[in-house]
C-alpha cells in the first residue's frame, strides 16, 4: 500500500524536519551542558570554556526549532496538540522549567561579570538543567511511541496524568535521548578547538557515549516489544524499516570508526546522520499515525486552507531563514578557533 502524500503529510514532515533540527542542534547544546556538568581533571576549566564558546552564539537560534514544532503542531494538528498537552502536562511543565533555567543561567553566566563563585553557581544550574530537559522531553517521545497519549479517561490522576509517561519504556527513551545529545555534543566539540588535548578529551567522550548509545538503543528496542508493539513492529518487522536500519547502523559504525581515526569532520556528519535516522526510523515506524494507536495524521489535520497557507508561510520563512542560518554558522562555525 502506498500512502497518499498531501498537505497533512507534508506538514507532518515539516514538523519532523524541525524536530530533527532541534535534536541535532539544540540537542547538542544540551549535551554540551552535560559535559559541563561532568567536566573533570586538570583541563576542566578549558573544557567548560570551550563548551560555552561553542554554544554561545547559536543556542538561542537552535532553541527556536522547538517553538516551530509547537506552533506547527497547534496550527496544523490541533487535536493532537491538545491531547499531548493534557496527557503530558507534568513532564512538559518540567521541561519548561528546565528550558527557562538552562537558558537564563547560561546568559547570566556569560554576561554576569567576573565574580568567580557566582559564575560557578550559574554554571552548575545551566548544566543540571541541560541534563533534565532532554531526559524528560525524550520521555514524552516515548509516551507518544507507546500509544499512551490519549484523551483523559477519568480513571483518576495517576492513570490520566502520570502513567502515560512514566514507564520503563518511556524512561528508556528519555535516557536514549540524553545519551544521544551528549554523544552529538562530544563529536561536535572535537571540531571546535585546535587544542590537541581538548580534542582528545572529547574524542574519548564521544567514543564512550557512542557505545553507551548503542546499548541504550537496544534496551529501548527490547522494551518496545512489550510496551510499544506498534513501533516495535514498524522498527523490526516492516520491510520499509529495513533500509533505515541498515543506514542507521552504517552511520553509527562510520561515526565510531571516524572518531577512532580522528577524522572529526566525517565523524560529525555520520553522527548527525545516525541520530537523525533514529528519529526518522521512529516516525516511519508509526506512519501514518500521529498519535498511536489510532489518531492518524489525516484525522488530526486542520482544515485544508490552514494547511495550505501554513505551507506557504513555511516556504516564505525558509527563504528568509536558510540564508540567515547559513550566514550565522559561516561566521561562527566555519573553522576551528578559540
Amino acid at each position: 500500500m502506498i500512502p497518499t502524500i498531501g498537505a497533512p503529510e507534508l506538514l507532518a514532515g515539516a514538523i519532523l524536519v524541525s524536530l530533527t533540527a532541534y535534536l541535532l542542534l539544540a540537542g547538542a547544546d544540551f549535551g554540551g551542558g552535560v559535559w559541563d556538568l561532568v567536566a573533570r581533571g586538570e583541563r576542566q576549566q578549558d573544557q567548560r570554556a570551550l563548551i560555552s564558546h561553542a554554544i554561545g552564539p547559536v543556542w538561542e537560534a537552535n532553541h527556536v526549532w522547538l517553538i516551530l514544532v509547537v506552533v506547527l503542531l497547534f496550527t496544523c494538528f490541533p487535536t493532537a496538540f491538545s491531547q499531548l498537552m493534557i496527557a503530558l502536562h507534568i513532564p512538559l511543565t518540567l521541561v519548561l522549567l528546565g528550558i527557562v533555567l538552562r537558558g537564563s543561567a547560561f546568559a547570566f553566566r556569560s554576561y554576569g561579570g567576573d565574580d568567580e563563585p557566582a559564575q560557578r553557581r550559574w554554571g552548575r544550574l545551566f548544566a543540571s538543567a541541560s541534563l533534565v530537559t532532554p531526559l524528560l522531553l525524550g520521555t514524552g517521545f516515548g509516551a507518544v511511541a507507546a500509544g499512551r497519549v490519549q484523551p483523559p479517561s477519568g480513571a483518576g490522576f495517576i492513570a490520566d496524568y502520570i502513567r502515560p509517561w512514566l514507564t520503563p519504556f518511556t524512561l528508556s527513551v528519555g535516557v536514549l535521548t540524553l545519551v544521544l545529545c551528549a554523544f552529538l555534543a562530544a563529536v561536535y566539540l572535537t571540531l571546535e578547538t585546535s587544542d590537541r588535548d581538548l580534542q582528545e578529551d572529547f574524542r574519548i567522550r564521544a567514543l564512550v557515549t557512542g557505545f553507551v548509545a548503542f546499548f541504550a538503543a537496544m534496551t529501548t528496542l527490547a522494551l518496545a516489544w512489550e510496551e510499544a508493539p506498534l513501533v516495535w513492529h514498524g522498527l523490526v518487522a516492516s520491510p520499509r524499516a529495513i533500509p533505515v536500519h541498515l543506514a542507521t547502523g552504517a552511520c553509527a559504525v562510520i561515526a565510531l570508526q571516524a572518531l577512532w581515526r580522528r577524522s572529526f569532520r566525517l565523524a560529525r556528519v555520520a553522527a548527525a546522520a545516525q541520530v537523525g535516522l533514529i528519529l526518522w526510523g521512529w516516525a516511519l515506524a508509526q506512519f501514518p499515525l500521529l498519535l498511536p494507536p489510532s489518531l492518524s495524521i489525516r484525522d488530526a489535520a486542520a482544515p485544508v486552507l490552514t494547511l495550505r497557507l501554513t505551507l506557504g508561510a513555511l516556504a516564505l520563512g525558509a527563504l528568509v531563514l536558510l540564508p540567515s542560518l547559513k550566514y550565522l554558522f559561516s561566521v561562527f562555525k566555519s573553522s576551528a578557533h578559540r
Binding site: 527556536v64 506552533v71 511543565t93 550565522l328
Partner: protein, 447 residues
C-alpha cells in the same frame, strides 16, 4: 484557589513577566543600533561603549524573553488545550510567522553580539537593523493573534461545528491594526523612557557625566516621539473597542447605564453592588466624544450586558485609568523635553526636567502592564470574545495551583537576578579602569 483561577493567575503571571522582556527585545535593539550608528559617524567612544553595554543588556533580557516566550507557547496548550484545539487552525498563522520573525531576530542577535570583530562594521550595523526589524515584526504578529481573541473573525460556527476557517480573514480582524500600532509604540516609548529615566536619575547625582548624558539623549530620541504619538493611537484603539467590545469599554469607563452624551470618567472607585461610581470626576459628553467622535452619541452601558458576562469592573476601570494617566504624563514629559532641547540645546542641565524624566522612567512599563490588564481582564469571561468561555477552555488537569506557585517562585527569582545584573553590568557608571578606556582626556583626538 480553583483550578480555573490558578490557570488564569499562572497565565497572567507568565504574560505579565514575558511582556516586560518582549518589549525590551523590541525596544533595546533600536537604542543599541542608534548608538552604534552614532559611533560610526561621530567616533565618540562613549557611543561604542553604550552600544556594547546595551547589546549586553539586550542579550540578558532577550534570553529571558526567549525562554519565557517558550513557556507561553507551551502554556497556551498546557493550560488552555480546548482553546488551542479550537483556535489553532484559525489563528496559528501569525504564530508561525512570529516563529520565523523571532528566529531571524535570534540569528542576527547572535551575529551582533558575538560578531564585533568578525564582520565588517557595516555588516555589523546591518545585523543590528535586522534585529530591530524582526523584533518589531514578532511583536506585531503576536499582538495580531491577541486582537483576534478580542474581535474574532475568519470562521463560522454551525450546529456547534467550526466551519469556513479562513486564517487570512482572522489575521485581518478588526482590532489588528489598532492593537499592533498601540503596542509597537508602547514598546519604544517604554524602553526609551526607562533608559532615559535611569540615566536622568544618575545625572542628577553626577551632572557632568558624559556617559549618562549621551545615554539619556539616545533614550529620549527613541522614547519621546513614540510617547507623543501614543495618545493618538490610543484614541484609535478606544473607538475600536467601543465598536466591537462594548462590555469592555463599559467596564473601562465603569459606565453602568447606557447613555447618550455619556460623560468621561476620570478616576473614581466603581461600586458594583450599587452600580455607581464614587469619587469620580465627570467630563460632560467626553466619553461619547472620544468613543464615537460625536458628543451626543449613545454609549452602551453595562445594563445592556447580562451580569454573568461582565468582566471585573473595578480592575478594568482602575487599570485603564492607570494606563491613560501614565501615558499622558509621558507624552507631556516628551513634549517638555523637546521644548527644552529646542530652547537650550540639551536636557541635561535642566534639573526639574531631569527629575520628571527620572520619575517617569518606570511609567511606560507600568502602563503596558495596566494596558494588558485592560485588554485581558476586560475580555472576561470570554477567552475568545463571544465565542468560547475561559472556563470551557481550561485543562482538566487538577492541582494547577502547584504549578502556579512554582512559576511564581521561578519568576520572582529570575526577576531579582535580572535586576541585579542590569544594575551591576549595564547601568552603573563604567569603573575607573574602564573609564580611562572609554573616556580619554582628549576625546577629540581619540581615534
Amino acid at each position: 484557589m480553583t483550578d480555573l483561577l490558578a490557570a488564569r493567575s499562572q497565565m497572567a503571571l507568565s504574560l505579565g513577566f514575558h511582556i516586560l522582556f518582549a518589549v525590551v527585545g523590541i525596544g533595546m535593539p533600536l537604542l543599541m543600533v542608534v548608538a552604534e550608528r552614532r559611533w560610526l559617524t561621530g567616533r565618540n567612544p562613549i557611543d561604542l561603549e553604550l552600544a556594547k553595554r546595551w547589546a549586553r543588556g539586550t542579550a540578558i533580557l532577550f534570553a529571558v524573553g526567549a525562554v519565557s516566550g517558550t513557556v507561553l507557547s507551551f502554556e497556551l496548550g498546557l493550560l488552555w488545550p480546548r482553546f488551542m484545539q479550537f483556535a489553532g487552525p484559525i489563528i496559528g498563522m501569525p504564530f508561525s510567522l512570529e516563529g520565523f520573525a523571532f528566529f531571524t531576530e535570534a540569528i542576527f542577535l547572535g551575529v551582533y553580539l558575538y560578531g564585533w570583530d568578525r564582520i565588517s562594521p557595516r555588516a555589523h550595523l546591518l545585523a543590528g537593523l535586522l534585529v530591530v526589524l524582526s523584533g518589531m515584526l514578532s511583536g506585531i504578529f503576536v499582538v495580531i493573534a491577541n486582537a483576534w481573541m478580542n474581535t474574532p473573525t475568519g470562521f463560522t460556527i454551525t450546529a456547534g461545528e467550526v466551519a469556513g476557517v479562513d486564517p487570512v480573514a482572522a489575521m485581518l480582524n478588526p482590532a489588528a491594526l489598532q492593537q499592533t500600532l498601540h503596542m509597537t509604540l508602547a514598546a519604544y516609548a517604554a524602553t526609551g523612557f526607562a533608559v532615559a529615566g535611569i540615566h536622568a536619575f544618575l545625572l542628577l547625582r553626577d551632572p557632568l557625566n558624559a556617559f549618562h548624558r549621551r545615554a539619556l539623549t539616545i533614550g529620549l530620541l527613541v522614547g519621546a516621539p513614540a510617547a507623543i504619538l501614543q495618545p493618538i493611537s490610543g484614541d484609535l484603539s478606544a473607538r475600536n473597542v467601543a465598536q466591537y467590545q462594548p462590555a469592555k469599554l463599559a467596564a473601562m469607563e465603569a459606565l453602568f447605564e447606557t447613555r447618550t452624551g455619556a460623560p468621561l470618567l476620570i478616576g473614581g472607585w466603581p461600586d458594583v453592588e450599587r452600580r455607581t461610581v464614587r469619587f469620580g470626576l465627570e467630563v460632560p459628553a467626553g466619553l461619547s466624544l472620544l468613543a464615537h467622535h460625536d458628543p451626543t452619541a449613545e454609549v452602551t452601558g453595562l445594563d445592556r450586558i447580562p451580569p454573568g458576562d461582565w468582566p471585573s469592573i473595578s480592575i478594568v476601570h482602575l487599570a485603564f485609568q492607570a494606563m491613560v494617566g501614565l501615558g499622558s504624563v509621558m507624552a507631556l514629559v516628551a513634549l517638555w523635553s523637546i521644548w527644552v532641547v529646542y530652547r537650550q540645546g540639551e536636557v541635561s542641565g535642566h534639573r526639574r526636567l531631569l527629575w520628571a524624566i527620572a520619575l517617569s522612567g518606570p511609567f511606560g512599563f507600568t502602563a503596558i502592564e495596566a494596558g494588558w490588564t485592560v485588554t485581558e481582564v476586560g475580555r472576561q469571561p470570554w477567552i475568545v470574545h463571544g465565542v468560547l468561555r475561559t472556563s470551557d477552555a481550561v485543562t482538566p488537569m487538577p492541582g494547577l495551583v502547584y504549578t502556579f506557585l512554582g512559576f511564581t517562585l521561578l519568576y520572582l527569582f529570575l526577576g531579582a537576578v535580572v535586576a541585579w545584573l542590569l544594575y551591576s553590568q549595564i547601568i552603573r557608571s563604567p569603573r575607573q579602569q574602564d573609564w580611562h578606556r572609554v573616556y580619554s582626556p582628549h576625546p577629540a583626538t581619540n581615534p
